[in-house]
Symmetry: C2
Subunit: 200 residues, 2 copies
């Protein structure tokens, strides 16, 4: 498919704009974020927004897709980066807490957990994206465990799938607690115990 460019080029970087949209949706919610809120935060005009994303829903779906596919999710990245499996699990839990609490008041928790999930039954296409995000994260976590098993660092009967889901689900609890204003240090007091449990 040869890309033939004609006409005036777009004046903004679409990825930058979508990143900004994530922030707006995250802090205000889908219904709470008006087009004016968005255009102001994204630094583009209304017609540009509609030309690039068709409508508000189009921008929202695009934001979710970007959030899912980007390698930005710190807990997951840190889990995969740490060489020692115990340290990796610990990093996942710690990063989950930090990520959920460090951002501004409106962006506490997790974009998927505390924003997207609200519209899963309301906006066409959201539920599918959310489901894909969950299943892919489960797989990524389990993959690492399988690798450790192959290397003999985990017992052969280690239930990678179940443990992956366990870690994921625990993270949702952390996201909700962060959203409720519960502090990082409070949550971190349970990390060590949980890591031991996950690897038991």
């Amino acid at each position: 498919m040869a890309e033939i460019k004609v006409g005036r080029p777009r004046e903004f970087d679409i990825d930058v704009v979508v990143d900004a949209a994530i922030e707006v949706f995250w802090s205000k919610g889908y219904d709470g974020a008006s087009i004016s809120d968005l255009t102001q935060a994204l630094g583009i005009t209304r017609p540009s927004l509609y030309a690039a994303f068709k409508d508000k829903r189009g921008l929202y779906l695009r934001a979710i897709e970007r959030y899912i596919s980007s390698e930005e999710c710190p807990p997951l990245v840190e889990f995969e980066a740490e060489t020692d499996i115990r340290k990796a699990v610990t990093a996942f839990m710690t990063a989950s807490i930090d990520y959920a609490t460090k951002k501004g008041d409106g962006m506490l928790g997790c974009f998927l957990s505390n924003c997207v999930s609200t519209n899963a039954g309301e906006i066409e296409g959201v539920q599918e994206l959310l489901r894909r995000a969950i299943e892919e994260t489960d797989k990524r976590l389990a993959k690492r465990f399988e690798l450790e098993k192959a290397n003999g660092n985990l017992p052969a009967d280690f239930p990678s799938q179940a443990k992956a889901k366990l870690m994921f689900d625990l993270r949702q609890g952390i996201a909700l607690r962060a959203r409720a204003g519960i502090s990082a240090p409070t949550m971190k007091s349970d990390v060590e115990q949980r890591v031991a449990m996950i690897l038991a």
Copy 2:
């Protein structure tokens, strides 16, 4: 405080109305639920709504408070009702899955997790209510474990607090998965393993 009643009495049961409001907010979200949506579902007129709850936010806070304080939360109630602790934990997990998946499409998951949490940073008073809800649930769960310890059904060093939070956090994962359309049977395949882990 002697209640002196004067004038025309309210024609609707306020608790019934608030219950209906929970359903509307849960399925449409706070911003997504219009006053017209609400009055229609509650079967009352606009002026009645404003007279009884001051404004939309007042009704929302009232709905959250009722959801928290009511004994309706099935997982918690079943956890407290079962006599055997292992069966009780199993009941909690199973009921969490059933409760999150059995309701209509808009009401999947959990009202607190998948609706209220979205507005925690946006509407004055919501974060405090959410936090209270979490802390009280943690306490209720831990209390049961402490009771079992006193009766010698759990080891003396059983970390009731940590286990309570664990159960709560797992439930949030279940709520999110339900919201994403993941089925109850799929989630139930992990219950036995998780129960064993909680009581280990």
